[in-house]
Symmetry: C2
Subunit: 394 residues, 2 copies
């Protein structure tokens, strides 16, 4: 019965297949007692109840909803047969700065440990993308993975990062240097949180919708284009449609790309992002992520036009739409140190960092048409300098 | 074209499927120039060469193979078209203590960053299980996952942890509290390393083979039983067969269990491990992992017998085999504070910790026969106390 290793093959091939399933809910006023969504999500695990829950909340929300913690506690009492708060909710300052602080990850891991959570317990992360990324990283590594329920509170988080399979923090001066691929247990998008956003955060997240429309869905781009005024005056109905469709396109891409954990070099959802990531850093995060993405989209669309891929009218339509949405398409940091392409303060250094983060060959997504992406593995920096000049003039 | 969120379903169901493939190689003298295994593994990725490699080496090996670093460097020069060392190899003290030092993880992440590794580069981890777990955790989180090639150098690592899909470190006084599920890129088992092990480490790893035989394969148990003397006198041929079959059974279980990332509560491969983990901690790691596992197996086999699951002759056969292999089956820490079951120094507290780590309902694997496991969700502590007494007498 024992294999004779001398005679048999000297290797064993292993194939491990894993399936992750999760729902993305769209609701309103999640913590009102009459809203059963959260309780139903936890109920559905068919395990012994009540389940332990630990909540981590973005301080930014509490400014506008100071009653949130009280509401959450009341909610868990009301649905006490299903869930039980296992520790005082932890409040953390949101925004990108949170992702620079490694000790926050340790504090959340410590909270999970002290509260005695197990792998079948729940971490409830309520906040913007940075808080979700940070809490997600802590939850994914404690006990090799506590169930994470994300409650994204910004446009950006609801239509993009909050529905995806990644988490992470910044380290050694590099964005998202540490993190894992870890699908959430569930995502609950509550549109009521959007009313509390300031205008910049309301607008900022639309950039990811423009991005996914440009690479995947011309009709969706038309919708955004024709609703740019409504979106600008904070029309909630238009925004909900933008968020739903954007989330759907992201989810479809992750499910069907064949590479959800990004083991290859292709990553079309990062259209416009090489420059965006670098600009966030170069502006010391004066630009919010979506604002930087809007510039990145404008830059790579302009480059696509200059490279002869995208026709002039479509290029102009893209810039006009971004502009109508209220995005600024030029910052001086685009043009600094351009002759020293590997200088840390030069935008082009972002290409190297992007390649390094994705791994393998440089793979940039550009546009062939609105709704149709194309990949290239080489870039012409002279054309990029022209593109930057065009943005400055625009 | 836009979905009207008011009318359509209020949720999107997401399913993400991921497949991981890796080979486990069995070879000898990996870093001899004429051994192409490692170069072939890296060659096979079909990407632009040479690929960057960073090596982390268990200091324990260098005591017996002081030339290893030199050999590795010579190897990478010889196969320079395929791979290039991107930083001086990092040497770390192995053994369980390494897993208690969180700063080591940060040092490895820093090394990966400084060397400019991308997600398609390689981290080569050479050492015992603790070093592989620690390096694996650092590699899995840097850039959300650098390719990891494990070179396990102990029996335990070659037949068990080194071929699996987990990594981790200890934190907050809990074993493997932090970690991820992250299949390696490849595993290379080099039997030459086994000749350098001390007798305790040579023996220790056999405990995992006994474990997997007991729950999966009676014939394999017979093989171990009939070769216990040969194994004791360090017969390499017998050991290679034990390692191959044990690795194979582990790999089959991971691939076919339906739950490779342990999202449920069942974990048969942890037979004997609830007590083993606790005993390692209670003895301040005086017991090595395999030695603790041998006691855990003896304890849960005895309990299986007392609970009427396992017949007397099979029970005795198990204890005699473990004993013939040279394992001690009793330590005083088994019997301390037994009347205070939740006391941190009481063995029975290990049941709570085990449940908490796995999550969900307590799920213990016991034996129905040699080669046939059974799961229970409740235990009788009085029977466990009897089992401990029986081990003391044995």
């Amino acid at each position: 019965m024992i294999v004779d290793i001398k005679q048999k093959s000297r290797l064993i091939h292993q194939r491990v297949s894993v399936s992750f399933n999760y729902e993305v809910y769209f609701t309103q006023n999640l913590f009102e007692l009459k809203n059963p969504t959260l309780a139903q999500v936890i109920s559905a695990d068919e395990e012994t109840k009540p389940k332990k829950v630990v909540a981590v909340i973005d301080a930014g929300i509490l400014k506008y909803q100071p009653e949130l913690v009280k509401q959450l506690v009341a909610y868990t009492k009301f649905y006490g047969e299903v869930l039980a708060i296992a520790a005082e909710p932890m409040i953390i300052s949101g925004g990108e700065a949170a992702k620079n602080d490694r000790t926050l990850v340790e504090q959340i891991q410590q909270l999970i440990e002290t509260a005695g959570l197990c792998r079948h317990s729940y971490v409830l992360a309520i906040g913007g993308g940075a808080v979700l990324d940070l809490v997600g990283y802590a939850a994914a590594t404690a006990h090799r993975g506590i169930r994470l329920i994300r409650v994204p509170t910004t446009v950006l988080a609801q239509n993009d990062s909050g529905v995806g399979v990644k988490n992470g923090i910044n380290a050694f001066g590099k964005k998202n240097f540490l993190g894992t691929f870890a699908p959430p247990y569930a995502v609950i998008n509550d549109s009521a949180f959007l009313t509390t956003l300031d205008d910049r955060d309301w607008r900022s997240g639309i950039a990811e919708a423009v991005k996914v429309a440009l690479i995947k869905d011309a009709n969706f781009f038309d919708f955004i284009h024709s609703h740019s005024k409504a979106l600008g005056r904070r029309d909630m109905d238009a925004m909900q449609q933008v968020i739903y469709r954007c989330a759907q396109l992201h989810l479809e891409h992750i499910a069907n790309s064949g590479d959800p954990f990004e083991m290859g070099s292709s990553r079309p959802l990062d259209f416009g992002h090489w420059a965006a990531h670098k600009l966030e850093h170069l502006t010391n995060y004066r630009l919010r992520h979506g604002e930087a993405v809007a510039i990145g989209i404008a830059l790579d669309s302009t480059y696509s036009y200059l490279a002869g891929l995208l026709d002039c009218s479509e290029w102009q339509r893209i810039l006009n739409t971004l502009s109508a949405l209220g995005f600024t398409l030029y910052v001086p940091e685009l043009a600094q140190k351009l002759s020293q392409q590997e200088h840390p303060d030069c935008l082009f250094r972002g290409l190297t960092e992007f390649r390094e983060h994705l791994g393998g060959e440089l793979t940039l997504t550009l546009l062939k048409n609105i709704g149709k992406a194309i990949e290239v593995h080489e870039v012409n920096l002279l054309l990029y300098r022209q593109a930057i000049s065009l943005l400055q003039e625009f």
